[in-house]
């Protein structure tokens, strides 16, 4: 970690993550307002997250009978922390806050913490609907973790390194999305599934009244929902260094390219959610097991052969 960002970046990282999350929520709110025919416009949309945050901050915490407060609170707090730790390996331009030599594995481990978190939140409020949401996420996570891992590993294989900056450097001539399109698509799908983003939002969907978050209110809901959004932003942003060449690009400085590409990926995923209804768990876990996993393994095999041909290792 000789050439990492200076120390102040550690303080700046949460701020930056919150700002990007804010912009994403505002974009989503703008699309919602347009669909519902309500007041639209940039100002109104930007105000939505602020208003919602303020409302939740002053809101009262709901208490349920015989709740497991310890697990519920810990689970809620783990989500934003995991998002933040995952975001630590994202390069802003050329360098991330922490350029770990096992960056992509670290990233994946932090995403997996969300499983435990969502289940704990679902369990914590001692409510049937919340627990159903928690269990749904465990099933979804199990089905999508393997394709997710294979997609990430394919990028690492192409660069012959687990370090995120090495993966970016390996894409100077050719973005990985070109030579491993299957892995890229699977990454986006499984990243949406791992952060229970629509159409994979069954764990928090409306038919179970908000699922794992059904009984949350006030600050608990703010931490859970905010953490979930931040995790989603981090997972989407990771697609940029893994497959889209990181900060590489003509004319503009690296950090601007990262911002532009991240915004594009986020916009795509936010837009995609509105196009499709929530997918049924049993159909799409099956899809993950019988289509996505073999596809990603085949993709990894192809990339491995290419690497060997190139005389790597």
């Amino acid at each position: 970690m000789a050439d990492a960002l200076p120390l102040w970046s550690v303080v700046l990282l949460p701020v930056l993550l919150v700002v990007v999350t804010w912009a994403t929520v505002a974009f989503d709110a703008a699309l919602t307002a347009r669909a519902a025919g309500g007041p639209s416009g940039v100002g109104a949309a930007l105000a939505v997250p602020v208003r919602e945050t303020a409302r939740l901050l002053v809101g009262q915490r709901r208490r349920t009978v015989a709740a497991d407060v310890v697990l519920g609170r810990v689970g809620g707090a783990v989500l934003p922390v995991a998002a933040l730790l995952a975001a630590a390996v994202l390069p802003w331009g050329r360098l991330p806050v922490a350029d770990l030599d096992v960056g992509v594995v670290w990233f994946n481990a932090m995403e997996v913490l969300a499983w435990a978190a969502v289940w704990m939140v679902g369990w914590g409020s001692n409510s049937a609907l919340a627990l159903v949401g928690g269990y749904r996420f465990v099933a979804q996570g199990l089905a999508y973790e393997l394709p997710h891992m294979f997609a990430i590993i394919t990028a690492a294989l192409g660069a012959e390194s687990l370090r995120v900056t090495d993966i970016v450097d390996a894409q100077q001539d050719l973005w990985f999305v070109v030579i491993m399109p299957v892995a890229f698509v699977v990454y986006l799908l499984s990243a949406a599934a791992m952060t229970f983003w629509g159409p994979f939002d069954a764990p928090v969907s409306r038919d179970v009244a908000g699922g794992a978050a059904a009984e949350l209110s006030g600050i608990d809901r703010l931490v859970f929902a905010g953490g979930r959004w931040m995790l989603f932003v981090a997972a989407a942003a990771m697609a940029v260094p893994l497959f889209l060449g990181g900060g590489g690009g003509p004319w503009l400085p690296a950090w601007l390219w990262v911002a532009v590409k991240t915004a594009a990926v986020l916009a795509l995923l936010v837009w995609l959610r509105r196009k499709v209804p929530t997918l049924r768990m049993d159909r799409w876990t099956e899809f993950a097991w019988v289509v996505l996993i073999p596809a990603t393994i085949a993709q990894a095999l192809v990339v491995a052969i290419v690497v060997l041909q190139r005389g790597g290792m």
Partner: protein, 186 residues
């Protein structure tokens, strides 16, 4: 200095959470206490410089413990610990055995003259591990792989009560499997 503080914090956390596993009433909390103990150990492994293994322990154990929580709640009589109950048998004998083992281990640890440190760690430990597993230790890796595969087959056989005749009919001629829920292939 920082690493010494970290060592003590993580070591105490590992022991305390490990102890809580057999002290708490709620099965959900028990599972996550065990997870906390694992995470502390993963931190220690990271502290020793084994970055890949440390992170992999985090990854594996979170997945494992979440699955464990599901099974716990499925099979235990009192998963939420709302009605405290004792789940021990032969506590005294077990405590004595565990105590004797601990004392014997401590005696061994303190009495044995441990060899001094030899050699230098490889610059890229992850790479060294990968090379070992794909080279000199290939046989270990293959054994692990075959064992895992055998485990997959054995666990499915043990835990399901439906065979292909239940799913595809007595003559195995059903086009779509007759499952209570979708998600099974077919």
């Amino acid at each position: 200095m920082i690493s010494i503080v970290l060592f003590w914090v993580l070591a105490v956390a590992a022991l305390v959470f490990g102890f809580l596993v057999f002290r708490l009433d709620s099965m959900a909390q028990v599972t996550f206490a065990l997870l906390a103990s694992f995470l502390a150990v993963a931190g220690l492994v990271l502290l020793l410089g084994l970055s890949y293994l440390g992170v992999v322990i985090v990854l594996m154990m979170v997945i494992e413990m979440v699955i464990m929580a599901v099974f716990m709640i499925m099979y235990m009589m009192n998963p939420a610990g709302l009605m405290p109950m004792s789940m021990f048998h032969n506590t005294k004998g077990s405590a004595v055995i565990a105590g004797v083992v601990f004392v014997a281990l401590v005696a061994g640890i303190l009495l044995v003259d441990w060899p001094t440190r030899q050699g230098e760690a490889a610059p890229d430990l992850t790479f060294a591990l990968g090379e070992a597993l794909m080279g000199g230790q290939m046989l270990t890796m293959m054994t692990l792989g075959v064992t895992l595969f055998a485990t997959i087959v054995a666990t499915v056989v043990l835990s399901t009560n439906r065979g292909r005749y239940d799913r595809f009919g007595d003559d195995l001629d059903r086009a779509v499997a007759d499952d209570p829920a979708g998600g099974g292939v077919g």
